[in-house]
Each structure stands twice: as C-alpha cells, then as structure tokens.
Symmetry: C2
Subunit: 505 residues, 2 copies
C-alpha cells in the first residue's frame, strides 16, 4: 500500500470505529429501555436515541465516507487489500448506498418514533390496548412506506424490506420455500393431531420457583459455552440478545412461576444468538463485519441450540438428573422419556415464542402474509387485529382472547422491524441443513451431547460460521458449509423423523 | 428579541440539548459499568465513553459555541433575557472558558483512562491490590497535573481542583472552616469516648435477610418522596446517585446480610441526592442548569435526609414498628430508644461511608490533607497507602488491615475526582444550617417527621433549593435560604446537642 492509501485506510477505519462506538451507546440505551428504565425518562431517552442515531447516520452517509469509499473502491486499491478488507469495503459501500437515500431529518424522526413506541409497547401489551398502540403503528408504517420510496421498491414493495434482513430473499422465493415446507408439514401436523399415544405433560402444570429456574438456566447457558465474563442475563417482557460490544453480549429471558420450560428454552435460544456474536473473529472488531451475517443465519444458531441441541433426547439424557435435583417434588415421578416427549409435544398455540418446532413455522407464515398485505396490498393498520385473529383461527385453529396475546404479542412492529419475521422460519431451515452437515463431519455428534461435551460442537460452528461474522453472505455460508443452496427438505426430514418417533407413528 | 437574536437563541438551545443527550448516553454508559457490565467489554466501553465524551467536549468548546456566547453575552442582548436565561448564558460561558483550555485529544485520553480505571477498581478493591491500581492512579494524577497547568493554577494547585466542585471554595477558607470544626468537635468526641452510659448495639450483630432489607429500604425511599416512576434502585459495590435524565434519576445501594443499617442509610443518602435532582424545575430541562448547583449543596441534601431526618428520634418513633415487622426475631427485645441510640453510636472506623456523623468529618479531613499533599507538595502515588494508614492511625486510632479497606475504599480517585472530598464535610455544614432555618420556618418540623408526613419538608426544600437547580450559586442559595453565609457553628451546635443527649452527658 502506498502512503496515501495507508492514510485513507486508517481514516476509514477510524470512522468505522467511531460508528461502532455510537452503535455501542445506542445498543445500551435500547437494552436499558427494556430492562427497567423508569417510564418518566422515556421522552428524553427517545430524543437522546434519536440524536445519537442521527449522528451515526450522518457519519455513515457523510461526504467523508463517500470520499473514502470512492477512493478504496478502485480496482488498483482493492487488489492490494486482503479478502476480508475487500468485504469490509463492499459491505460499507452497500450500507452507504442504502442509507444515503434517506434524509437525516427523516431518519431522526423515525428513530425517535420507534424508540418511543418500543417503550410504550410493554404497557400496551400488558393492557391489551391496541387502540393506544394503533396511532404509533400507523405512523411507523407510514414512515416505512416513505423509506421504501426513498430506497426504491424492488419486485414488490415488501421485497425492499426483506432485503434489509436477508440480502438474497425475495417474496417470490419465500412463497416457494414456504409452499414446499407447508406441503410437507401440514400432513405431519395432521397425523400428529390424530395420534393416539400422546405425550403426558400434566406434570408441567405446577409451580416452579423462579430463583431455581434462573439457576438452572444459567447452568445450561454455561454448558453450551456462553461466556458470562462477556455477557449478562436479565429479565424482560420479551427475551432478546443484544451485542453491546464484542466483549459484552447480553441476553434476557422471562421467568414464569407456572412454566418450567419457557425461560429455559428462551435462554438457550438467546444463548445461541450470543454464542454466534461472542465467537466472531476479533480481527473484525470495530467494523460492521463484527456481527452475525444476517437475521436468518442468526436465527439458525438460536434455533440450533434451542431445538437441535436443547430439545434433543441426548441433551436430556445428560441433564435431566440435574433438573430433577432443582425440582425434586415436581419431577419425582417423571421419567426422562416422559419429560422429553412433553417438551416436544405439538399443540396449536397463540404465542410464537412459546410454539413447538412444528407449528412455529405457521406463526411465521401468518406474520409474513400480514406484512405482505400491509405493504403490497395496503391493509389498514386499524384492520390488523381482525386479520390477525382470522388467520390464527384459520391456520392454527385458535383465537386470541385479547390483543395482548394476539397482535401486540411481539415487540418487533413497535420497533419498525417489518420484513424481519421470515428470518425465523429461514433460521429453522438453515439450522436443519447445518445439523445434517455436522452429523456427517462430527459423527460423534449425538454422543457428545449425551456426554455434555458441547465444546467440540461450538468449535465446529465457530470454525464454519461464527468466526466469519458478516464477512461472508448468508448464501455463501450455507454453500460453503453444506455444499448446497438453501433446501427446505432438510428441515422437513428432521421434523418428520423426530416427531414420528415422539408420537410413535 | 429581534429575529437574529431569536434565531441564535434557538441554535444555542439546540446545541445545549444535543450536549444534554450526549450527557445522558455517557451517564448510562457509566451507570452500566458499575451495575454489572461484563468485564470483557471494558476495553471497548472505555473507547466508546472516550469518543462520546470527546464529541460532547468538542461541542462545548466549539467555534459555534464561541460565536453564540459572544453574541449573547453582550449587554443589549442580556438585557432582553430573563434572569434564568442570563444565568444559563453565564454558566455555559464559565464552562466554555474552563474547557476551551484543554486540547480535545488530551481530554479523550483522560476520559478513556478514568473510565478504564473505574471499571478495574472494583476488582482492585476486592483483591486489596494497590500494586495493580497504582499505575492507573499515577497516570490519572499526572494527567490531572497537566490539566491544572492548562487551567492555570490558582492560589495553590489544589485550589484549581476545589474550584471545579465548589466554585467559591479555597484551601485558605477550607483550612479555616475545618479548623473551627475540629476545635469544637474534638472535645466532644473525647467526652463521648469517656462516656459511661454507652449505646448497646449488640442486637445488630445478627443476620438480616437481604430481600427484606431491600423491601424496607424501598419503603423508606417512597416515604421520603423518591419517585420510582422516575428512578430505579440497583446494587453496586459503592452506592451512588446518577441522573440519566430529569425523568430518570437512579440510585444504588449495597446490601450486607450481616449489617442491617448500611443499605438503609445509604439508600436514604442517595435518595436525598435523588430528591434534589428529581425536583429541579422542568423549565431548566435540556440545559446544564438542570442539576444540583454544586457538590457541597448536593451533599447537604443527601446528609439531610440520611442524618437530620433518617437518624432522628422522631423518624424512628414513626418507622421503628415497621422495621420490627420485617425483622421480628432480631428486634423483638429492642426498644426504639435502644435502636435510636445504637444507630447513633460514635466509633472510630475505617470506612468513611459507614462512619457516624461525628467522626465522618475526620475521614474527610484526612482525604483533604492527602489530596493537598499530592497536588501541592508532590506526594508520590506510591506513598499513598503508607500516608493513608498513618493518618488513620493518628486521627482515628485505627489502621486498615489491607488496602481494600484503606486507600482503595472509594471509587473517586479511580474516576479522577480530586478536590471532591471536601464537599462531603461542606455538605454536613450546609445541611445543619438549612436544618436550623427549616425549624424556624416550619415549627412543626419534628411532629411532621414523627407523623411520617414528610411531604411538607420535601416541598420546603424544593421551593427553597431544589427547583433552582444550578441557576443559583451555592453561596447565593445558602444566603438566600438562611440569611447568612456558611457558618460551621450550626453543625457543631447540632452535633453537640444531639450527641450529648444520646450519650447522656
């Protein structure tokens, strides 16, 4: 590198580090809003988040950034960079192109709005107050529509939103993939509904001390390799993972005294997200590559640890004894087989994050269809509770008794995350495809789990996926790791095999 | 106001709001470091705090700010402003003059250093590791010395640091005031040491459930009027109050299972700070006037609620029954008189924040003398533990068994807060002077406390002190409220009267 290139490269990296610091402050301000920030501070907090996000946005789209990018993005300069640095330049260029189209003032208004709405959502959900939430959601949709115009609609308006979370994803492709999945899963769900030998989960109708749940969940997080020196666990209404910085990857869960498994599996789920973030190569620190590559790949890791590990027979052969020690009274007459079948029972339910592995995908498809209706067919925000309830009745045979457990159940829309939900089903498909490969490459996979020796599994995932952070695209990762493109049949195969065994079909 | 003045005024206010938002982010980043941020994130966090503090500092000392100030600070413009707005301009001008002398790069290095040191301090204290801490403290002192040179030394180098926390305070004045206080208190401490009728505090050697302590402390915080919709309570190594924004004023405490009163009185102490911050007039929001006017006046409020209210006989006549209900076993044979005398026993101790009202001032004087030695006499940082231990032996007759309970006991030096400690004794003197006045103006003061009707007391303090925030100087407040300047005799009178009664002298 000549002297000028070196100088520009250093300035470019300094600018990225500065943006990373804004990102840390913003992540913490958001985390804090959800983990107990007092409500009287919400208005000033929204202004603060708006200000910092705008400053960060200004840097991201600054003239300075434009100058660096056009200098670095020339063949003779790119030729001097290593592959990772080239990826860094192209990723920053993509974000620049994407964001430079939004006027900073619009961006600030938007971030203040969603920050405020996210804070209020907790109360709206608790009080099932859709009427209170509706004006906020209406504004968020309006502003999102405006942003789609700035970005320029793709094949459909909703495609523009999908692209934000999963670069290659289109409505056309999702319609196909979801179609294939539905075709294979619907008969399975049907078979299960008619099965005569059903799991007995009656022992879960009991009271489970929250302090003990917390202790056991924490133990399991340590078992999967979550590093508490680089993270912390808090309680929130809706569990989430957030990366404050690479040495500070936090998760939250929600304990219920009358539910033994909710906090446990949400801990493993968020723990899976956290393992991904904690194991990105540290050479990517201070750049936008130091994070999971897409929402779909991210979700594949949370679902992998929650379901492919945490809901496996081998896992409970190893850890059920410890769980029994925490709850000797409640579990004294429950065998590990009964427990395993109970945590894998299939039941149509109202809440996505509580859903079993099979019906989960239907929750996602409902949300996907509603979001398409909003952005491609002009569905009015005021009609959302009605459409929501109808779809739940028609797809899952259940109807929410109030909007708190219906349309208000997730925080995502209050934060403006439209186009995000499909990633959840995509995550299941990626996870199954990775699991298929890991069983070939680590033939002792099952016995590692049964021995509680999860380190080699985490190491395999780190080596194949985590360490790359965002320096590989999702489609590249899936191809490089599994040798083929996304294929929904791996998920269908896995679910068929597992659930036929659980239901003795 | 003509159009140009109106425009500049609005731009000036926007700039202040932006600085306020940086302040909120920084306060939260610091709060988080102390309330459980994982240690692996400390390095990146220090960089983030450094970056944001530097951005804020750049705004504070920007050319733009200089232009606004020189425009606004002209007689014809000032004449058009109301008194509060004139104070705003002069306060911002003072901060500008003070900060414009520090090169931004130096400032960033400094904030990164103290942020890092503050984080590490918790472990250094826990492990009594002064050798580990020394290189950080050495650097902090060096940089502080550099800053004194930038600011320009006053009568002595240490005067420059005092000025930062208490504008009117000088070494000369402090030497006088502390001298007068010592002259009156030393004989009293002596008399007490020889008293034959001593409080029996043996019932405090017991175990007190932490959850119950937490509950009772929270109840007492509500009683004094701390608004939990605008605050939250957490546990940290060293208790503190921090204002994230005017609607988000947080406090922390530290519970000890073998100590009933530590968390309780530190809660009332930090709660007193919080009452001040929660009751500043909201018209000052978004400006640097929206906070307590000085460290000394601030400390007067924490000490007022902790001691003048919380350690009074009337307070326990009202609340002791409730405390007994929380700890029926431990307190069943303890009368309210015995309890009152026990929480007001005088004993030389090692830890300032645990000290009684009388010896507390000696802890502060030791620290004051050491800080003077560092900055005015070149005392080496490596000699601090030795000097510390000698002074504790000579002033209080006790010697720390390790540096964790000695020189490392407080977080302040790791955060670079030199010149801060004298405020603690100043706070006691202000508090006594305010208490003298409130008894004249609210003759029912004692019976209000005895009735648990603390609202009128909080209202009086709000009306006389809190609402003004930083729009009055400490000397103006004390004069306006009490009709005279700071007078250490009020504290000495109060202590003499109270402790002669407690010790039946």
């Amino acid at each position: 590198m000549d002297q000028k290139t070196t100088e520009i490269w250093e300035q470019f990296r300094d600018l990225l580090r500065k943006m990373t610091s804004y990102g840390e402050a913003l992540a913490l301000l958001h985390w804090d809003l959800r983990t107990g920030a007092p409500k009287n501070g919400a208005e000033a907090r929204a202004a603060t988040i708006g200000m910092l996000a705008t400053e960060n946005f200004k840097l991201q789209t600054s003239e300075e950034m434009g100058v660096y990018l056009s200098y670095l993005n020339r063949p003779e300069v790119l030729a001097e960079l290593n592959e990772t640095d080239r990826r860094l330049v192209s990723t920053v260029q993509e974000e620049y192109d994407y964001n430079v189209k939004i006027p900073p003032q619009k961006f600030q208004e938007y971030t203040e709005l969603v920050s405020h709405a996210e804070t209020l959502w907790t109360d709206f959900k608790r009080n099932s107050d859709y009427a209170g939430f509706e004006p906020y959601l209406t504004k968020i949709v309006e502003k999102t529509q405006e942003f789609i115009d700035y970005w320029g609609p793709k094949a459909t308006r909703y495609d523009t939103l999908l692209h934000m979370y999963e670069p290659e994803l289109t409505v056309e492709k999702l319609d196909q993939v979801f179609g294939r999945l539905r075709d294979r899963l619907v008969p399975l769900v049907q078979q299960i509904a008619e099965a005569s030998d059903r799991p007995d989960a009656s022992f879960l109708d009991n009271t489970f001390d929250i302090a003990k749940q917390h202790k056991f969940s924490l133990d399991m997080l340590k078992e999967i390799g979550y590093d508490l020196d680089g993270g912390r666990v808090d309680e929130t209404e809706h569990p989430f993972e957030t990366t404050i910085n690479p040495g500070d990857v936090r998760i939250t869960t929600h304990y219920y005294e009358d539910d033994l498994t909710s906090a446990l599996f949400s801990s493993l789920h968020e723990g899976g997200h956290a393992l991904y973030e904690q194991n990105v190569d540290s050479k990517l620190n201070g750049t936008p590559l130091s994070q999971g590559t897409s929402m779909g790949i991210h979700e594949s890791q949370s679902r992998f640890w929650e379901n492919f590990i945490g809901r496996s027979r081998e896992f409970w052969n190893r850890y059920y004894g410890e769980l029994q020690q925490h709850f000797p009274e409640q579990l004294k007459d429950v065998s590990v087989d009964q427990f395993y079948r109970a945590i894998n029972r299939v039941e149509s339910s109202l809440i996505r994050i509580e859903a079993d592995e099979l019906t989960y995908n239907l929750h996602v498809i409902i949300r996907y269809e509603i979001e398409k209706m909003i952005f491609n067919e002009g569905l009015a925000v005021s009609d959302l509770p009605k459409v929501w309830n109808e779809k739940y009745q028609s797809y899952l045979g259940v109807t929410p008794s109030n909007d708190g457990e219906g349309v208000l159940q997730d925080v995502h829309w209050s934060g403006g995350s439209f186009g995000y939900f499909p990633s959840y089903a995509l995550g299941n498909m990626y996870a199954a495809q990775f699991a298929h490969t890991i069983r070939k490459e680590l033939p002792e996979f099952d016995s590692l789990i049964a021995a509680g020796n999860l380190g080699p599994i985490k190491d395999w995932l780190t080596d194949k996926i985590y360490k790359y952070g965002k320096s590989l695209k999702p489609a590249e990762i899936i191809k490089q790791v599994t040798g083929e493109d996304l294929n929904p049949d791996y998920l269908a195969d896995y679910l068929e095999q597992k659930y036929k065994e659980v239901y003795k079909l």
